[in-house]
Structures are given as C-alpha cells and as structure tokens.
C-alpha cells in the first residue's frame, strides 16, 4: 500500500483555490445577494412584535390546512417564544426559506431537463448521489473559503445538500405522467413547451410538491450544521450548548427546531396534496366523496 496514493484531496483543494483566485469577484456578488436576501427576510420576521408574526404564520396555516392547523401553529410558536428562542427560530426560518427557494428554483428546471433527456438524466443522477451522500459538513469547508464566515456559507451548503430530492421527484413526476396523455397533446398538434406547461407540469405537481417538501425538510436538518460556520439561529444555539455541555439550552433549541419542522412539513404537504382554498373546501370535500381524487395520499415525511 505504501507509495500508492491518489491525491484526490489535493485536486479538490486545487479546484477550490483556482475558484477563489479567478472567480473571487463572482463569489463576492453571490455573497452580497444572499446576504441581502437573508437579511431582508430575517428583518420581516424579527422586527415586528412576535405576536404579529405568529398571527401571520397562523393565517398561512389556516390557508394551507384549516383552523386546527392554525391553532396548532400558534401554540407551537408560542412555545418557542416561551423557551426564549424566538429570534433564533426566526433567523433559522429565514435561512431555511432562502436556501429552499434557491434550491427549488434550481432543482425544478434541472428535474425537467432530466425528465426530457435520457442523456441529461444519466449525467445528473450520479451528481445528485454525490451531493446527497457526501457528509454535509464537508461542503462547509470550501463554502467557508469561498464565502467567508457568516450566514452565506451555511445557505450555500444547505442548497447543495437539500437540492437533490427536488430534482429527483420532479424528474420522477414528469416521467410518470401517463404516456397516452402526453401523446394526446402531441396528436392534437401541441408544441413540446405547451405540453410541458399544460400537461406534464400540472400532472406531475403532486410529485413536484413532495420534492419541495423534502427540500425544505432537508434544509431544516442542515441548519444545525450551518450553525458551526456562524450562521447563527437555532443551529448556533445547538453548537453553543454542545460546547458548554448545556443540556437545558440544547433541548430548548432542539425542541424549537422540531416545532418549526412540523409546521413547515404540514404546510408544504398540504399544498402538495391537491390544495383548495379554505372558502371552497367544504364543497370540494363533498365532491371527493363522489369520485376519489386520482392523486394518491402521500405519507407526510418528517426529517428533522
């Protein structure tokens, strides 16, 4: 074994060094954009008094699922206020939302591409495997070098880590659309773009929304790790408690993460499963008695 050594690590380092040297400006721009994005969202969530934010989030919950979920959301958020993690929780929420939005914005088009071209799919699949299975903390190292300490390396690492299920489920959803229905579109002279917009995306929507849900859940699970590079929020609290062996703080921060996770999962899950506006809900429910929706019920997944 002596003397046989593949210097993969050195190559990776060289690549990161090369990127820092030649594309430093580009990364600075990205850093500024993400920073601004995050700061703005965090301000919206933390500047108003907590009860206004809770009311607003409860309203979103009502829109998504109804009054029971709205009450549950309000109670959960009040618990977070009660354990004095409100500001941290809102920072984390802002970080999760920014990272998820960017990840979804990348994942869905890539998923569409993979669904339409077998060649693209063959290239993309191993990359996704790599992104998903590489220990998440490893991303932090180049992210730190490229974007310096702060919230941005956390966001970037989160995006990379969380994106894969979005791509996969988008591809799966589009490929799973009944071939005959797509053929019907073609047979009547529809263009490929039109078939995508009018047939494939709408029919793949439950699967795509499941992907969005998974992206958000993975992003939330990543925030603790992002706390290590100074992203703050609940992750910062957990890292702190780990350093001080502070069980109380660790549990309170951890509990807050769980509450956020449940709220986010149920909300996105509801939007994925044939969402209807609350004011039309009763009518829609009675319709479903006549003809069950073809969309299969999806088990709510919770990763936290």
């Amino acid at each position: 074994m002596d003397g046989f050594r593949i210097p993969v690590g050195d190559w990776a380092e060289a690549v990161v060094e090369f990127l820092t040297d030649t594309l430093g400006g580009f990364f600075a721009v990205i850093r500024t954009i993400f920073d601004g994005f995050y700061d703005g969202l965090e301000a919206v969530l933390t500047v108003p008094p907590f009860w206004i934010v809770i009311l607003a989030l409860a309203a979103v919950a009502w829109l998504a699922k109804g009054w029971k979920f709205a009450v549950g959301t309000a109670v959960g958020l009040l618990v977070i206020v009660g354990v004095d993690q409100w500001e941290n929780a809102m920072s984390t929420l802002a970080l999760v939302l920014v990272a998820s939005l960017v990840a979804i914005a990348i994942a869905i088009p890539v998923g569409i591409l993979a669904a339409r071209s077998d060649a693209a799919s063959r290239v993309i699949r191993p990359i996704l495997d790599f992104m998903q299975t590489m220990p998440a903390m490893v991303y932090l190292i180049p992210a730190l070098i490229l974007f310096r300490v702060g919230v941005v390396p956390g966001i970037i690492a989160t995006i990379v880590f969380a994106m894969a299920p979005g791509v996969r489920l988008t591809e799966l959803g589009i490929r799973g659309v009944d071939r005959e229905v797509v053929e019907a579109g073609q047979a009547f002279g529809s263009s490929p773009g039109r078939i995508l917009r009018q047939i494939q995306l709408p029919l793949a929507m439950p699967s795509i929304m499941a992907g969005v849900n998974q992206v958000i859940m993975l992003a939330l699970s990543m925030v603790v790790i992002a706390g290590m590079v100074g992203a703050g929020g609940l992750g910062g609290q957990v890292v702190q408690s780990l350093g001080r062996i502070d069980v109380a703080l660790g549990f309170e921060a951890g509990l807050s993460v769980v509450i956020l996770a449940i709220i986010l999962d149920r909300a996105t899950g509801a939007f994925g499963n044939g969402w209807t506006a609350p004011w039309t809900r009763r009518k829609a429910a009675s319709k479903q008695d006549v003809a069950p929706s073809p969309v299969p019920e999806r088990e709510p997944a919770l990763v936290a």
């Binding site: 047979a187 002279g189 529809s190 039109r194």
Partner: protein, 480 residues
Amino acid sequence: MSATALTDPAAPVASAVHPDPSAAPPSGEAPALEVRGLTKFFGRKPDQALERLRAGASRTELAQLGTAAVIDADFEVRRGEIFVVMGLSGSGKSTLIRMLNGLQEPTAGSVRVMGEQLTGVSAKRVRAIRSEHVSMVFQHFALLPHRTVRDNAAYGLEIQGVPPAARRERAERVLETVGLGGWGDKLPSELSGGMQQRVGLARALAADTDILLMDEAFSALDPLIRREMQEQLVELQQELGKTIVFITHDLNEAMFLGDRIAVMRDGRIVQLGTAEEILTDPADDYVAQFVADVDRARVLTAANVMQAPRAVVAQSAGPRAALRTMLEQETSSALVVTGGRKLVGVVHDRDVLRLVQRGERSLDSAIRTDVPRIAPDVHLAELFATSVEHEAPIAVVDERERLVGVVPRVTLLAALGNVTTETGELPVAVPPVTVPVEVIQATLAGAEAALADARRAGTEDAREDGDLPPAAAATNGGIA
C-alpha cells in the same frame, strides 16, 4: 436522422414495388391517407435490418437486431371510409397508427395525409398537419384530468388558436352530439369509462379534422357500452363523413365497423379487403383461423348468402302452372311476382290444389301477402326471428320491391357454419311438400283432362301454358 434518407421515394424497394407517391395529385382528389412501404424498426442497426427485411426476412429472423414493428405497410385510406386495422397485440398495429400522424418516425417509407407529405418534414410542419387534418382517440381516453370535460373537448381547438368563447361553444355542441350535453363542468374523473371515451371522441370531433385515428378506442369499455359506442360511431360517420382509421384486436368489432379491413400479423399486412372478402376468402391459414371465431351473423348480410329464387310464379299464371312449379321444385310454396318481378306474395300448395280442383283460372284468391321480406343489406343476425316465425324462405327485395333472392332456413344455418352457400349442386327445397306428390299429380292430371274436355267443347282457350317455366324463373331471378 437516417429516416430522412430512407423516406426518399426513390429508395429501391419502395419505388420498385409501389407506384411513385409523388405521382399522386396534390389536391382534392388525393386519398385521405396514402401509405407507401412504411416500415418501423426498433433497434440498433436499422439500415442492416431494413436490408434484410427487403430481402424478405421475417420478424423472428431479425429478433436479435431488434423489433420490426411494422414491415412494408402499403395502403390507401379513401376519404369518408372506416378503415380498420386488425391484429393481435404485438402485431404492430399501434405503431402503424402512430406513424400515420407522426407520433412515431418511420424507419422507411412515406405517409401522405390529404395529399401532404407527413414523413421527412419539420416537426413544426408535422404539428400543423396534425392540428389541421388528424385527430386521435386513445384506448385509455388520455383526457387531461385537471381540466373540465368542456375544456378537454375544446383542447384541439385551443391548439388551433380558436378564441376561448368560440371553442367553448363548439365544444358544448359536440358534447351534445355525443350525448354529454350538460356534463361540461364536470371533471373526467367524475364520469364513467364510457362517458370518458365520449369526451375523447368529442375532443377529436371538435377539432374538426378530416381524419380520425382511433387506437383501440373501445377496447377498455364494457361489452354493452362498446356495442353502443360502435353503433354511435357508425351513425356519426354517416352524418359527418369523417375518414376513420380504427385499430382493434376484436375481429367482430372490425367486421362491424370496417368498410375495409387490414389484417396484420407480425408487422405485415396479410390481407386487405372488405369484411365479406376476409370472411369468405381468407388470404391464408392465419386469417382463416382468425375469422373462424367471428360472429358471422353480424357480418354477413342477406345479399351475401341469398339464393336465386327457384319456386317463383308469375301472378298472371294460373293455379295449374303454380302447382306444377311447386311439384317440380319439390316445395310446398312459391313466391308470386308481377311481370316486373315485383313481389306480390306467396302461395301454398294446399290452397293452389283447391283452386285447381275447383277449376279456378286466377291465383289471386290464394295469394297471401304476409311473406317476410327484407332488404339485401340486412345482417343475418336480424333474420333469425323472422325465419323462426315463417316456414317459407325469407324474400330479399330491393328498394323497388323487386325480388332478388331468397334466404331459406337451411342457407341461414349453412352460412353460420361456414358451409358453402353456393347453390347449384345442392338445390335447397324448402319448405318441404305437405301434400303427397301423388295427390298433386292426380289433381293436375284431372284438371288436364277437364281442360281437354273444355277445349273439345270449344268454350275456352286454355292459355295456361304461358307460365314462366321454373328454370327460366330461376335464371332471371338470379342475384342482381
């Protein structure tokens, strides 16, 4: 794209065996679909496979290279006909229909739609031809589940760029036509299978294309609903005059719907002809085996099986001549026609015998007009009840009430059993005589003697011998 080169009409086999497609007139007179040397091969080496196919290789011989789904299909679909492609699953019929609107790119050969080249043109042009000329109905309906029935029906018009209000209105009208008036606001999932396929049909009809491709369109439906849809399709076709290409694995369906039927086996069209031609003259053992199961009663018509009427007498003929005819034909009844071969009714031997015994000169009092009469295009299935009710053969008359043939019970049974229905060697005598031959002969002899007496008395000239001799009646009464 290798297909472009292969669709060249100058390709050796395509042009050697078939007329040059470019010779067809480009405008109004072109057939709805013109298919020349169409071949589809799924596999890695299409060129090599094509060469071997042209040399006559069968599908199994090419199994190692890939699948030859369709081999050298060559036919025309006339405007306004229902053209059925029939074959078992895997015979290539689905691939064939998908090449007719460009959903599948052929490996070789060409397709012309209403005189316009479909193969080897740009994707955009193909889409334009589809939206203008060809719509399709799918086996599993292929409706857009997130759209209402009305918006589904209007889909083709939407692609054609018809404004929303106009296309909704047209969709609503077509839904009315297929019997779904008032269902426009429902979602497809709220409809039964048969109703969903009506929406599929409405979508195709609303697009108002000349050609309708129907891919196993009724195969997923219950038998009763399928029958109903078949009948409705025939009605619609007669009303709207669309050209329909219908794919099915159900021979009865093929026979019921098809003006012409192409039977496919292992990628090749083994026979192309009308239902009757395929049924009565199958091209090979495969087709023969296939049609053995068909419900012949629903395919064959009276015209296919009817026999020349033999026991026929002219109304002007007297009772003696009628009786003689029946005696010669060994039957107990005869059809009575006017000079113009118009059917008047039927006479039975007992009645005529009585007339002769009474010395009557006219048949009229013995003629019964309740003879069953049908048109030549009636299916045998509809004859059974009539045949049971009447012992006499069923008379086949044309639209001017002229006698063109008869369908005796025996013939009806023979047709179902695929026994030859040709007449000649085995003249069928029905119904059998009910009066002993000796009695008739004695009566005729008696009447003859009485006549001779009368003639001797010089009171009457007996012109009863002006009857149509039975043999002549048979010849003249031959199938028109």
